[in-house]
Amino acid sequence: MTKRMWMALISLLGLFLGAYLTLYHYGFIGTLVCNVSSCEKVQSSRWSMFLGVPVAAWGASFYALMLVLTVAGMQERFAESLTLSLVLVLLTAWGVLFTAWLNSLEAFVIHAWCEWCLGSATMVFLLFLLALFDWRERREQIESSYDDDSPLTPA
């Protein structure tokens, strides 16, 4: 499978995880499945909201956007798009930074860990790595296409 396919699968998993935590936030799920940590404390803390929207819903939206972009990137039309690769790198880099901020809140402010949040953090980091590799691959592909065909041509 290509890197974009792996990214799409991870995004799909993340979308369900985000949906689960969002449903919990709005009271559709009574208790979280949380065996080894304090998910409830984290999910109900004041840090569980960002700009008036639950962090879980932001996460679900992020994964949904990643899913759309990576599935689009699997189509022939965008298969070699360097721009799309760059967008994926930037989006996932933002995701890594946001996740790092949330994890630092868990460690130093809330003093509790949520295993679902840690799972999401792992997925975002994997997405970032895959996006980086995908971007590098696209660049190498384009570079080699110039090398194969012609030297720089005058405008």
């Binding site: 799909l12 208790t31 065909d149």
Partner: protein, 271 residues
Amino acid sequence: MPNKRPEPPRKRQGGVVKATKKTSSSTRAFYIVAGAIVVLGIAALSWASTRPKGTDVASRIDTTLPPVQSSGYVIGSPSARLEVTEFGDFECPQCGRFATLTEPDVRTRLVNTGVIRYRFIDYPLPMHANTWNASRAAACADLQGKFWEMHDAIFANQDRWNGEATSSPDKVLKSVGAQIPGINKDQLDQCIDTKQTQAKIQAHYQLAMARKVEATPTFVFGDKQVEGFLSYDDFKAMTDSMLAKAPAAPADTSAKIDAKPGVTLPVKKGE
């Protein structure tokens, strides 16, 4: 004249087609795995969203466990057909959500109309740093007949006195209590300072432990119990299902209590 790089030659498209053919099996694998994730994900979400609700999934209570008839704080008519007990932790966020979002409706529509009687029993969980202080302060207010007012004020101000907010919760709890109309502030402060109500909270904690309560909030409806936050609709559904099984009680006009959400009248106190 600067040199410009042209767009990749179109013939490269042929490479894409070749690659697509080469990866057709991996594309198939992708769609199979994606389909499996979608099916499992939807099944998991459906299971999770229905799991803790309704009488079918509420756990049956072990009848050999000690009764709760002599503990906690009670509002509602003694002749109500159903008693609902909450094992709650003042610092538990879900208990706070229930107290501020659901409980006002429960009191207005079910307690004040005589449908149910409601009991609150402290279960201060060890993970919460300041919850014992809150339970003691609420019990101190109870000595002046102001438990429910203090209960509501404590939950409404949970983010001011909890373990994340302060290491001196008693100071905040005193100022929260001082806002309650008619409360004797000096008496409240002295009670909080001397931890006068510690033994009572300890007894509540032991009762919850003995009844094997595992989480807060835990709601006991007759012989069933449910863990976690309940919306008013969930609470009402549980109440209705238990009332349908309970024997009919004689009409009791005194059951209508003139109490507003947040300012409720303690009808019967335990202990």
